[in-house]
Symmetry: D2
Subunit: 345 residues, 4 copies
């Protein structure tokens, strides 16, 4: 089968690869119909993710059709149309029972990381019963690719952790795909204001179209002052960090109101300054989270009921044969205005 | 009247001072019967609290008898026995209505800071109806002095913010008065393990007597390893920071389990490192809080019902005439083994 | 001044009445600009509310301008534009501190019940600082009349108590004004389905316009079967009872899914059957609540931000001189299609 | 093997029975070392549980040793010492993922009901990975038998659903085994008062020993008056119904304070009156729940740490050969003072 294989920092090839096989009784083999590329895949290609070693098929998002199931799989049968979660969960360990699938002792984020991933014609899914989701008849496949990772990430790590409530004032720092996923799903809770902050004018325009009530271009400076001006001097109830660099995390500290919550989504590579000399008395909460995908069933319902349109996030489409072009387009997002790119197999 | 007055960094005098007067219709004048000294008073004396200017009567804790009330005070009458909260709350502003009395727009921590305090024979209490609490007949006055500040601080900032649950594993970093207040009130929720960590052997012995299931002397190193050994390698569900220096906050980051909560109580003077490069994916929560004293009525009930014995925290007693000795004893806690000292007027 | 006075069961007169006077230091006198009529006013007129005695000026909703304030009022000054809450709250008693203003020991629902109300040119408001809300410049006065009672009632008793979450399936039994207020505010939380159930075809059409995803006319029978058909046989996550008769409360029990919540808003006159022989094992929650109006500040923000349009609820407008016509129109809602009627003074 | 078999209303026999066999890949066979009898077993014998048909081996509680596991069982191996949960949970269905194991679509309460149970030498456990719990080395087996059903039932349905908090006033109506389990586990949250109410003087004495701060013998009348006297006229914050008859549920309604919670545990056979004509405005919550046993891991930790001593509930011990005597002793609890009886195999 065709597969996109990581060959070490800076190197990826589309090549013929052996078909995946069932390895455990709770495995399933899924034929991929659509997948996509995540910012994390770019991180791997930079060599930033040491757990992912050369030879690995990349990709942790996608939809497809069940091809084969192990003896212990009871919830799915060959031929069923499924959504693949970026997080594999055994459903049995202490973490899974607490709904913290991200820390499953035999799962978590393994797809396209420590086991072969979805940027291929077929993929093996571990713990299939609790890592796949049945796709309702008539559902839009492309929309559901957004439910593998980006929407639950924006929702769980940003919106739920940020405890966004009706009437709240929210700032989302970063208007890349994950920041936009937070922006879309924050609206489930009807905040009064959503301020989108980024350095890129195009992304801020997209944010505006997606429901931001204000946008601030950080490239022009005075971000804190603008946020304060928009919030009667008080700051925001919730600041979502969707970038992953020290400056944006410090910005969140500068704009958070007393009693507010900073919900970190960003993947950070270095430590950050926490200004406890100022914040110790401000009754704030800071949260971190690797997506658990526990809200996938809830998100499926909101997509089915039309409360959210995830296809808004899709800007480009490619065939698997042209996945290298897809990577190129996605990597040059500033120029190409790419958000999410769909790969059809 | 006699009063302990701050005269600038390093200087305090016990002197005759004019009696306080009603200034607003919701004020009350309270005759102090017992007060105490807080670590914060020592901070002021070091010059670390710029809002507290020379000439200020210190002290924000105490019990007493209502002497006089303003026209708008409806809940209290002269002669009533009352507990003074360290936080003055108007009960009307947005923050007060959210239960965040610490940020009351015309109150908060003002006593012994921006208005004259309780280390005197009389004190003026602003917003008396919502800043005083009636003392039940037969209650132990000394026990209730602990409810002005230290018990709600340990409970709200450490235990409630730390979301301690039955069966949890808890570490409390710092076994000074406020850490011990957390230790006592953590037991309201029946955690399975409470690990007390300090550099002082005497304080750790006290912690053991107060209910710590294990103690670790940080002076002997290898604290992280010992915590890991006590928790099956997993770390703690809740780490309470009750010191206020970068090293202890970093320790909390080193011992927190995935999904855990770091509840900061410490008053920090400088920024700290937050290791997001490691914690971004650990689903942790960090909280800060200036005590709101919203749990004072709940704490009064637990004291009345004997579920907690706050007098355990009291090590020394002095007359107001000897308050300078009391300060000396309290400041040299390492030698004197002082926790809380009672000042009788 | 002109005032609508209750003269015993079945009798109301628009008459000249003495002006209200300040009676306590925390009172305010408000000149009413707009008020409305509530279903509860009709209950009083039927003689169903024994606490309301003849001679009482009716009405507990309205907006106006502060005319005079007592010595203890600090948050409002004469000339300020204010929203009157149907619930008076002292902000000091145990219930108020827990956010349960409805049970304020010296307040609660007293306006137009045990003290004179708002269907008059002027009204005295007790505990003014915590019972009035400042109206932002430029706000739509008519919209805000809906925030005195009906919107917080629908929201707090139906939506918050019903713990409605994104993706949920909700049934609202009763499409009168309060059921419609629940319908509008339920959408703050983006449920997947909102099923409106009533006996009146016109009200169901309104419900559809207001955002119901399905409507069921109970007059045509088979309600339970229809709800089951709409929910894959499972029943609803949340059933809001907005009628107040045994049959509608029993219907809620028949359509609730395991794990669901029945949120009662209806004012019941007789006991109801609770089918514990069936429900004891169904993990359900039943809630009751007299509105606390603690969410008024939050609702003000959602109105200001355009997340909700309360004026949708207004069907008729009258001058105070014609308030008897307004009552007539409101009482004959089935014919007149009245929801909320605005009375201008 | 020996097994206690239900032979229709009023009939049970201890007989030789075929050994259980693995039927599904996620089954395990467990050799029972200790089991017990539940009030529900008596209900079955009265013919009150139609899902349990003649020929069924009774019993849904116990500890033992894993004998054999199916191919899909990954968490347990033969020879491991395990606690059997009364609830079987697949861990995969919608209900299980929400932590509502009691409604597992292929599990729930099936043991000793729709499949053969634990009052035998061996038992087949369905969904073994998520229905068994590893027993820590050195744990007291008898204590852990109490974790199969009675402690999680008292804790989840009574204490957690009752939202008991430090300082609360709690009434537990019924001092049978399950009411006493609530009484023991309520103390995890340090309520100020726990009032135990029963008709049996011996059980009330036990309740007192187990930590009730007051007891009321309902046989002597005036229960409501006594509760009001103990609570300053206010009623209780939480009323736990642990009987299952209309009178005790109505009593809960009579003693609940505004804002309080009635947590039903009792298995009811007939409908009850709900006095909404009085309670609609009292801001109360009523909950029902079939135990989910989601707190079993938490309870194991509290037992291991000595925060609770479940063996207090054990009054008698029998060999499996004498299980008919055990039933007799348990059924005549009023005379024998039996609470829980241990059956050793």
């Amino acid at each position: 089968m065709k597969a996109l294989v990581y060959r070490g920092p800076g190197k990826k090839v589309l090549e013929n690869h052996a078909m995946p096989q069932l390895e455990a009784p709770d495995d399933a083999i899924v034929r991929i119909t659509r997948t996509t590329i995540c910012g994390t895949d770019l991180h791997i290609l930079k060599g930033d993710v040491p757990t992912c070693t050369p030879g690995r098929i990349l990709g942790h998002e996608g939809v497809g059709v069940v091809e084969q199931v192990g003896a212990a799989v009871s919830a799915f049968r060959p031929g069923e149309h499924v959504l693949i979660s970026c997080i594999s969960a055994c459903g049995k360990c202490d973490y899974c029972r607490q709904g913290m699938y991200s820390h499953c002792t035999t799962g978590g984020w393994i797809l396209g990381n420590t086991i072969d991933g979805t940027q291929a014609e077929y993929v093996r899914i571990a713990h299939a019963d609790t890592s796949l989701y049945r796709i309702p008849a008539g559902a839009d496949e492309e929309a559901l690719v957004m439910l593998s990772d980006i929407l639950p990430t924006g929702f769980e790590c940003g919106v739920l952790n940020g405890r966004i409530e009706p009437g709240d004032t929210v700032a989302i720092v970063g208007a890349g795909p994950v920041g936009l996923a937070s922006l879309l799903t924050a609206q489930f809770y009807s905040p009064a204001q959503i301020i989108s902050i980024d350095l890129n004018a195009n992304r801020l325009e997209v944010a505006k179209r997606f429901g931001a009530t204000s946008t601030i271009n950080g490239a022009q400076g005075a971000v804190v002052e603008q946020v304060k001006a928009l919030t009667g001097g008080r700051g925001v109830d919730c600041a979502v960090e969707a970038v992953g660099v020290p400056a944006s995390f410090v910005l969140c500290q500068d704009i958070i109101a007393p009693g507010g919550t900073i919900a970190n989504i960003g993947v950070h590579g270095v430590k950050v300054d926490l200004h406890l000399e100022r914040l110790w008395s401000q009754n704030i909460t800071i949260t971190t989270r690797l997506v658990d995908t526990v809200t996938t069933p809830m998100l499926l319902k909101t997509v089915q009921s039309g409360r959210i349109e995830p296809t808004k996030l899709i800007t480009h489409r490619f065939k698997l044969d042209h996945i290298l072009d897809a990577y190129d387009t996605f990597a040059r997002a500033a120029e190409t205005h790419a958000l999410k790119v769909i790969i059809e197999t």
